[in-house]
Symmetry: C2
Subunit: 135 residues, 2 copies
Protein backbone atom coordinates (compact mmCIF):
# COMPACT_ATOMS: atom_id res chain seq x y z
CA UNK A 1 0.00 0.00 0.00
CA UNK A 2 1.66 3.26 -1.06
CA UNK A 3 1.82 6.20 1.30
CA UNK A 4 -0.99 8.25 -0.20
CA UNK A 5 -2.21 11.41 1.50
CA UNK A 6 -5.89 12.30 1.33
CA UNK A 7 -6.91 15.96 1.59
CA UNK A 8 -9.12 16.55 4.62
CA UNK A 9 -10.16 19.94 3.29
CA UNK A 10 -9.12 22.89 1.18
CA UNK A 11 -7.89 26.44 1.75
CA UNK A 12 -10.20 29.24 0.61
CA UNK A 13 -8.27 32.50 0.38
CA UNK A 14 -8.12 35.80 -1.47
CA UNK A 15 -4.59 34.76 -2.51
CA UNK A 16 -4.85 33.25 -5.98
CA UNK A 17 -1.38 33.52 -7.49
CA UNK A 18 1.84 32.11 -6.08
CA UNK A 19 3.62 35.43 -6.70
CA UNK A 20 1.06 37.18 -4.48
CA UNK A 21 1.73 34.89 -1.52
CA UNK A 22 4.12 36.16 1.16
CA UNK A 23 6.94 33.84 2.20
CA UNK A 24 5.45 33.34 5.66
CA UNK A 25 2.07 33.91 7.26
CA UNK A 26 3.33 36.65 9.55
CA UNK A 27 4.55 38.70 6.59
CA UNK A 28 1.20 40.16 5.61
CA UNK A 29 -0.86 37.11 4.68
CA UNK A 30 -4.64 37.50 4.74
CA UNK A 31 -7.10 35.62 6.90
CA UNK A 32 -8.32 32.47 5.17
CA UNK A 33 -10.84 29.67 5.58
CA UNK A 34 -10.01 26.02 6.15
CA UNK A 35 -13.02 24.30 4.60
CA UNK A 36 -13.06 20.77 6.00
CA UNK A 37 -14.56 17.86 4.11
CA UNK A 38 -17.76 16.97 6.03
CA UNK A 39 -16.62 13.36 6.27
CA UNK A 40 -13.95 14.56 8.72
CA UNK A 41 -16.25 16.81 10.74
CA UNK A 42 -15.87 14.63 13.87
CA UNK A 43 -12.09 15.12 13.71
CA UNK A 44 -12.53 18.91 13.73
CA UNK A 45 -15.43 19.06 16.18
CA UNK A 46 -13.36 20.45 19.07
CA UNK A 47 -11.65 23.28 17.17
CA UNK A 48 -12.64 26.70 18.47
CA UNK A 49 -11.88 30.40 18.27
CA UNK A 50 -8.60 31.29 19.95
CA UNK A 51 -6.99 27.88 19.40
CA UNK A 52 -3.40 28.01 18.16
CA UNK A 53 -3.00 25.34 15.53
CA UNK A 54 -0.52 23.95 13.05
CA UNK A 55 -1.97 23.40 9.59
CA UNK A 56 -0.21 20.96 7.28
CA UNK A 57 -0.93 21.49 3.59
CA UNK A 58 0.00 19.79 0.33
CA UNK A 59 1.79 22.38 -1.78
CA UNK A 60 0.42 20.99 -5.00
CA UNK A 61 2.17 23.54 -7.22
CA UNK A 62 5.66 22.86 -5.84
CA UNK A 63 8.54 21.07 -7.59
CA UNK A 64 9.54 17.79 -5.94
CA UNK A 65 12.89 17.42 -7.72
CA UNK A 66 14.43 20.57 -6.21
CA UNK A 67 17.08 19.75 -3.58
CA UNK A 68 18.71 23.18 -3.09
CA UNK A 69 17.48 26.77 -3.46
CA UNK A 70 18.53 30.36 -2.89
CA UNK A 71 16.65 31.17 0.35
CA UNK A 72 13.63 33.41 -0.21
CA UNK A 73 14.46 33.44 -3.94
CA UNK A 74 17.33 35.86 -3.29
CA UNK A 75 20.19 34.91 -5.63
CA UNK A 76 22.68 36.79 -3.45
CA UNK A 77 22.13 34.10 -0.84
CA UNK A 78 24.09 30.87 -1.37
CA UNK A 79 22.38 27.74 -2.67
CA UNK A 80 21.08 25.94 0.41
CA UNK A 81 19.77 22.40 0.87
CA UNK A 82 15.97 22.57 1.04
CA UNK A 83 15.86 20.80 4.42
CA UNK A 84 17.49 23.97 5.83
CA UNK A 85 14.88 26.23 4.18
CA UNK A 86 11.12 26.68 4.12
CA UNK A 87 11.02 26.54 0.31
CA UNK A 88 7.80 24.96 -0.99
CA UNK A 89 9.97 23.07 -3.49
CA UNK A 90 11.14 19.90 -1.71
CA UNK A 91 10.80 16.11 -2.06
CA UNK A 92 7.53 15.98 -0.08
CA UNK A 93 5.91 19.39 -0.55
CA UNK A 94 4.17 19.59 2.82
CA UNK A 95 3.52 23.12 4.03
CA UNK A 96 3.55 23.95 7.75
CA UNK A 97 1.61 26.98 8.96
CA UNK A 98 1.11 28.05 12.58
CA UNK A 99 -2.03 30.15 12.87
CA UNK A 100 -4.75 31.16 15.32
CA UNK A 101 -8.40 30.28 14.80
CA UNK A 102 -10.63 33.36 14.54
CA UNK A 103 -13.98 31.66 14.13
CA UNK A 104 -15.56 28.28 13.39
CA UNK A 105 -18.86 27.95 11.52
CA UNK A 106 -19.89 24.37 10.82
CA UNK A 107 -16.88 22.75 9.16
CA UNK A 108 -15.36 26.07 8.07
CA UNK A 109 -12.47 27.25 10.24
CA UNK A 110 -11.34 30.87 9.76
CA UNK A 111 -7.69 31.49 10.62
CA UNK A 112 -5.48 34.58 10.95
CA UNK A 113 -2.68 35.14 8.43
CA UNK A 114 -2.28 32.09 6.17
CA UNK A 115 0.14 32.33 3.22
CA UNK A 116 -1.24 29.33 1.27
CA UNK A 117 -3.07 30.11 -1.97
CA UNK A 118 -6.73 29.41 -2.68
CA UNK A 119 -7.31 25.75 -3.47
CA UNK A 120 -4.36 24.37 -1.49
CA UNK A 121 -5.27 20.91 -0.12
CA UNK A 122 -5.13 20.53 3.68
CA UNK A 123 -3.62 17.34 5.11
CA UNK A 124 -3.82 17.79 8.86
CA UNK A 125 -4.54 20.15 11.75
CA UNK A 126 -2.72 19.79 15.07
CA UNK A 127 -2.82 21.82 18.27
CA UNK A 128 0.24 23.81 19.26
CA UNK A 129 1.47 22.09 22.41
CA UNK A 130 1.75 23.94 25.68
CA UNK A 131 4.40 23.23 28.31
CA UNK A 132 4.68 19.66 29.57
CA UNK A 133 3.00 20.46 32.88
CA UNK A 134 -0.33 21.53 31.37
CA UNK A 135 -0.82 18.60 28.97
Amino acid sequence: MPNVVHPIGVVRSTLHALHDAPNQGDEGAPDADLVLDPRYSAAGADLGAGDEIIVLTWLHRARRDTLAVHPRGDERRPLTGVFSTRSPDRPNPIGLHQVTIVDVVGTTVRVRGLEAIDGTPILDIKPVLGPVDVR
Copy 2:
Protein backbone atom coordinates in the same frame (compact mmCIF):
# COMPACT_ATOMS: atom_id res chain seq x y z
CA MET B 1 -1.33 11.69 -10.17
CA PRO B 2 -2.14 10.73 -6.57
CA ASN B 3 -0.54 12.55 -3.67
CA VAL B 4 2.08 9.96 -2.76
CA VAL B 5 4.70 10.72 -0.13
CA HIS B 6 8.19 9.28 -0.54
CA PRO B 7 10.31 8.66 2.56
CA ILE B 8 13.50 10.75 2.47
CA GLY B 9 15.02 8.67 5.24
CA VAL B 10 14.28 6.58 8.29
CA VAL B 11 14.46 6.97 12.09
CA ARG B 12 16.99 4.76 13.89
CA SER B 13 16.19 4.65 17.59
CA THR B 14 16.44 2.49 20.67
CA LEU B 15 12.63 2.76 20.86
CA HIS B 16 11.21 -0.35 19.23
CA ALA B 17 7.70 -0.74 20.60
CA LEU B 18 4.88 1.79 20.41
CA HIS B 19 4.12 1.29 24.12
CA ASP B 20 7.69 2.32 24.97
CA ALA B 21 7.39 5.64 23.15
CA PRO B 22 6.56 8.70 25.25
CA ASN B 23 3.70 10.89 24.08
CA GLN B 24 6.05 13.76 23.23
CA GLY B 25 9.78 14.12 22.67
CA ASP B 26 10.27 16.29 25.75
CA GLU B 27 8.83 13.58 27.99
CA GLY B 28 11.93 11.41 28.20
CA ALA B 29 12.49 10.34 24.60
CA PRO B 30 16.00 9.14 23.68
CA ASP B 31 18.34 10.69 21.16
CA ALA B 32 17.87 9.16 17.72
CA ASP B 33 19.39 9.17 14.24
CA LEU B 34 17.70 10.51 11.13
CA VAL B 35 19.32 8.39 8.43
CA LEU B 36 18.75 10.20 5.15
CA ASP B 37 18.54 8.40 1.83
CA PRO B 38 21.77 9.35 -0.01
CA ARG B 39 19.74 10.45 -3.02
CA TYR B 40 18.57 13.40 -0.90
CA SER B 41 21.98 14.26 0.52
CA ALA B 42 22.05 17.64 -1.28
CA ALA B 43 18.77 18.58 0.45
CA GLY B 44 20.34 17.92 3.87
CA ALA B 45 23.81 19.29 3.11
CA ASP B 46 23.37 22.43 5.23
CA LEU B 47 22.07 20.76 8.39
CA GLY B 48 24.46 21.17 11.32
CA ALA B 49 24.83 20.66 15.05
CA GLY B 50 22.78 23.13 17.06
CA ASP B 51 20.11 23.62 14.38
CA GLU B 52 16.56 23.55 15.68
CA ILE B 53 14.46 21.59 13.21
CA ILE B 54 10.99 20.23 12.66
CA VAL B 55 10.93 16.61 11.51
CA LEU B 56 7.83 15.33 9.73
CA THR B 57 7.39 11.58 9.85
CA TRP B 58 4.93 9.05 8.44
CA LEU B 59 3.42 7.23 11.41
CA HIS B 60 3.11 3.99 9.51
CA ARG B 61 1.57 2.07 12.42
CA ALA B 62 -1.25 4.54 13.03
CA ARG B 63 -4.96 4.06 12.27
CA ARG B 64 -6.28 6.40 9.59
CA ASP B 65 -9.98 5.81 10.30
CA THR B 66 -9.88 7.24 13.85
CA LEU B 67 -11.59 10.64 14.08
CA ALA B 68 -11.81 11.10 17.87
CA VAL B 69 -9.74 9.85 20.81
CA HIS B 70 -9.38 10.17 24.55
CA PRO B 71 -6.36 12.53 24.80
CA ARG B 72 -3.18 10.74 25.85
CA GLY B 73 -5.16 7.48 26.02
CA ASP B 74 -6.74 8.61 29.29
CA GLU B 75 -10.36 7.44 29.29
CA ARG B 76 -11.27 9.97 31.99
CA ARG B 77 -10.71 12.66 29.36
CA PRO B 78 -13.63 13.24 26.98
CA LEU B 79 -13.54 11.95 23.41
CA THR B 80 -11.88 14.72 21.39
CA GLY B 81 -11.65 15.29 17.65
CA VAL B 82 -8.16 14.23 16.52
CA PHE B 83 -7.46 17.64 14.95
CA SER B 84 -7.45 18.99 18.54
CA THR B 85 -5.00 16.30 19.71
CA ARG B 86 -1.54 15.00 18.85
CA SER B 87 -2.78 11.43 18.54
CA PRO B 88 -0.85 9.45 15.90
CA ASP B 89 -4.21 8.04 14.78
CA ARG B 90 -5.62 10.56 12.28
CA PRO B 91 -6.62 10.68 8.59
CA ASN B 92 -3.09 11.54 7.42
CA PRO B 93 -0.73 10.11 10.06
CA ILE B 94 2.01 12.71 9.77
CA GLY B 95 4.09 13.12 12.92
CA LEU B 96 5.58 16.50 13.84
CA HIS B 97 8.64 16.60 16.07
CA GLN B 98 10.64 19.69 17.05
CA VAL B 99 14.18 18.67 17.96
CA THR B 100 17.74 19.99 18.08
CA ILE B 101 20.53 18.50 15.99
CA VAL B 102 23.37 17.12 18.12
CA ASP B 103 25.69 15.95 15.36
CA VAL B 104 25.80 15.26 11.64
CA VAL B 105 27.99 12.53 10.14
CA GLY B 106 27.57 12.09 6.40
CA THR B 107 23.84 11.70 5.83
CA THR B 108 23.13 10.65 9.43
CA VAL B 109 21.67 13.41 11.59
CA ARG B 110 21.61 12.77 15.35
CA VAL B 111 18.86 14.62 17.23
CA ARG B 112 17.95 15.16 20.87
CA GLY B 113 14.78 13.57 22.26
CA LEU B 114 12.72 12.02 19.46
CA GLU B 115 9.64 9.97 20.39
CA ALA B 116 9.28 8.16 17.04
CA ILE B 117 10.03 4.42 17.03
CA ASP B 118 12.83 2.72 15.11
CA GLY B 119 11.95 2.35 11.44
CA THR B 120 9.58 5.32 11.21
CA PRO B 121 9.80 6.84 7.72
CA ILE B 122 10.84 10.51 7.52
CA LEU B 123 9.00 12.79 5.09
CA ASP B 124 10.60 16.19 5.59
CA ILE B 125 12.95 18.32 7.66
CA LYS B 126 12.35 22.06 8.07
CA PRO B 127 14.17 24.73 10.06
CA VAL B 128 12.39 26.32 12.99
CA LEU B 129 11.85 29.91 11.91
CA GLY B 130 13.26 32.81 13.87
CA PRO B 131 11.56 36.18 14.19
CA VAL B 132 10.67 38.00 10.97
CA ASP B 133 13.52 40.48 11.32
CA VAL B 134 16.28 37.88 11.14
CA ARG B 135 15.06 35.90 8.12
